[in-house]
Symmetry: C2
Subunit: 452 residues, 2 copies
């Protein structure tokens, strides 16, 4: 058992001082507010937050960040970006993916995320054939999580078809494809692969309605057991149009008709919704998994976060393409897109509430639910996933209370993180991941070979 | 005379290797591409860019970043934010402003800006009375520019009325107000104040159509001589409505009817435009001075950058409220707001062009024009204002050519700046301002007193 004494901490939606926390086997055993530091306690100066769960990542895409920003002859869109992505991943081995994922995860830890939901669809060898160990790529992800110490929810992705109506997969998709039998083996292999990662959870991700059939959804659900189920949905207007053409229904409408969507689900993007679809998601308890920076980068559109949140909907944020990595960047882009649309300030907060605190608390709750792990609060039974901010940073100096979160999110380029613990282990010190140099050098070697 | 040998550099819209630059009295004397390093040349590893001019800053507002993010009982807007700002500046002395401005300018230099247009309206003592030296606050700005080494275009602001129709100023505005005579003395004092700042320019800024009368514009123009004239315009829908109610014309329409707007002018924000207004600005050669992060923070709305730029309009970026400071953050927010509106990618680039390179080059040209200084290019006769990026940064590793700019802007949280020179003098080393510690400590003391 270890003891921490937190100078300030976010607990129960408020910032409080002098918090004694005991940690046993990575989990918070007790929390007491307001006392003096115990003699054996490690004193943690600054403001300590429950680390934010990143609810959507394709880690390997960190390696192609910025490589699809040339304007093509026809108008660029998500779909032209996807072609660039398919060409990039053509070359990657499991070791490459482990190296790139470790870099991405180290950056996440340095910028406020203590957990990641890895939506993992790059399964097979470069020719589309299965690796001897069908879960070799899942092992690469597990290895990166183990090395960096980030909390892991691994979501092996079921990807069967190339488009609505059970289209054959394209050449670019060959490394993603499984039939129901091979996918069951992949899930089994993924469970073994994460056994080295303390506290890891394996959920399931049907990729999208484009990529799976109606019958597949039921099988996927059985494989998940009680673990999280994530799906890409309604990201793009073309996707909505294609779904309507195929089924006569919009994607979210179709999903709710064909699956028992509940709080076990996380609907990634869910950008283009009717009022009825929005209300259905809110009522179901499913998490709306927003990826504000990627959705801006890909020109997806603006999710109506204000109406969804005020209607009781649960939302969280993910870094998705990892074109940029940072909790504040995601929260800011989410809030700013609402402001630009509504031409008003202070959108995702209740009256009288701090936007920073409200956004942080909401995405903590949503991220924790989507991760399927006991995280997201400084409370007994939760993982000791703790992010400590530097109160001497110019953007935070002389602030107190909720204004600390407002300034950390809106006034610093990224949250001024000083140290980070995951399951009680310190993985970031003085703002840098403890293995950051090794991870970065290996990443750089891989990138020089892959892009060279 | 000094000699630099740049490993890579942005010259004439392209990235080229092995650039020999000689600098005389802060100005680039010669540029030669492709040769071997001269024996006496300082070798500059990395990619060197002409530093970006920041065309709009209210430096003191850096001290209130994040302090107006609480949702009020009525819907928050620019106008409620303005009340918070008025209360904050109530307390500031010239020394406080010098300390806050130095912090803001050091951050600008560390994140890619080598010059700033300071739109300076906080002139008078806390009771609204003039300081013994009417330009005491201008001297504080000049002092901060001198200490940090940033290139300065000081724009003393003429602020006379509290609203359209020559309304009396409010209490919150008392420190901004001048009559035409006192303003002429203030401009004279400002010219003296900047005499310690090498290469500084003093322009003129009529604050907005709310704050000046028609006759004032003509006087302002005479005071400017050939120097830049900046004005806030059409930032807010309410401002457009108020202008219509007052004059029957929209702000930009009114301005073009009452002033000879040409390339000497910079129209700050210009968010809400008719097609005719947009075309008038483009045809005039005036710079559209966009402040994407602040405009998102304040919920102003989305400038139609695509149509303006493709119609030949000149644009640049500024950090305005300084709620965040960083060139990449501004450029990214500008491009991303266009993508979210248009639901397409790659907006502010020609077909076949890199968005990063196109955006950077466009805002270099616009920023240089708005600054009234010979900057914005690595070319003979231009100031040696040079920003060098670290090519070993994980977001840049193994990139080349225009992809370096795409990745620096879109894939790093802020541009990975390694060193910065202004007028040939090195002011940032290893990513940190050379006087950063002193500047930050002084800023922190001021903030603890002002906010304490």
């Amino acid at each position: 058992m270890s003891s921490l004494h937190l100078e300030q901490a976010l607990i129960g939606g408020r910032i409080v001082a002098d918090v004694a926390v005991t940690v046993e086997a990575g989990t918070i055993a007790s929390v007491a507010i307001g006392g003096l530091p115990a003699p054996d306690a490690v004193r943690v100066a600054g403001l300590t937050l429950p680390g934010l769960p990143n609810l959507h990542s394709h880690a390997f895409q960190r390696g192609m960040a910025g490589l699809s920003e040339t304007r093509g002859a026809s108008d660029d869109s998500f779909w032209t970006w996807r072609e660039v992505m398919y060409r990039f991943l053509d070359k990657l081995s499991p070791d490459d993916v482990a190296a790139i994922a470790a870099q991405a995860y180290a950056e996440m830890l340095e910028t406020g995320f203590t957990g990641v939901c890895e939506f993992h669809y790059l399964h097979h060898d470069v020719d589309g054939g299965r690796y001897a160990d069908i879960a070799a790529m899942a092992s690469a992800i597990a290895q990166a999580a183990h090395e960096t110490g980030i909390g892991l929810t691994l979501l092996p992705v079921f990807y069967r078809f190339g488009g609505f109506g059970q289209l054959a997969p394209s050449h670019g998709q060959r490394r993603f494809i499984n039939d129901p039998d091979s996918f069951a083996r992949l899930v089994e292999g993924s469970r073994k692969a994460v056994s080295s990662v303390a506290g890891a959870v394996v959920g399931i991700a049907p990729h999208s309605l484009r990529a799976v059939g109606a019958a597949d959804l039921e099988q996927v659900r059985r494989l998940a057991g009680g673990a999280p189920i994530h799906i890409h949905i309604a990201e793009q207007e073309k996707e909505v149009a294609d779904c309507l053409a195929w089924s006569g229904q919009r994607p979210v409408e179709w999903l709710f008709d064909h699956a028992d969507v509940d709080r076990q689900w996380c609907l990634i993007h869910a950008t283009h919704l009717t009022l009825a679809e929005r209300d259905a998601i809110a009522a179901s308890g499913a998490v709306a998994g927003l990826c504000p920076v990627t959705e801006a980068s890909l020109g997806d559109g603006i999710f109506d976060g204000v109406a969804f949140h005020e209607g009781g909907g649960v939302l969280g944020v993910g870094t998705d393409s990892n074109i940029q990595v940072g909790a504040a960047s995601e929260l800011r882009q989410l809030e700013y897109s609402q402001r630009l649309r509504d031409r008003r300030r202070a959108r995702l907060a209740p009256v009288g509430g701090s936007v920073g605190l409200s956004l942080y608390q909401a995405t903590l709750d949503g991220g924790a639910r989507a991760s399927g792990r006991a995280v997201g609060a400084i409370a007994p039974g939760c993982g000791a996933d703790l992010v400590t901010l530097d109160l001497d940073h110019p953007a935070l100096v002389a602030r107190s209370g909720a204004a600390l979160l407002d300034s950390a999110i809106f006034a610093a380029t990224e949250m001024p993180v000083r140290e980070v613990r995951v399951a009680g282990q310190r993985v970031v010190e003085a703002g840098r991941h403890v293995h950051g140099d090794v991870i970065r050098q290996r990443f750089s070697s891989v990138m020089r070979r892959v892009l060279g």
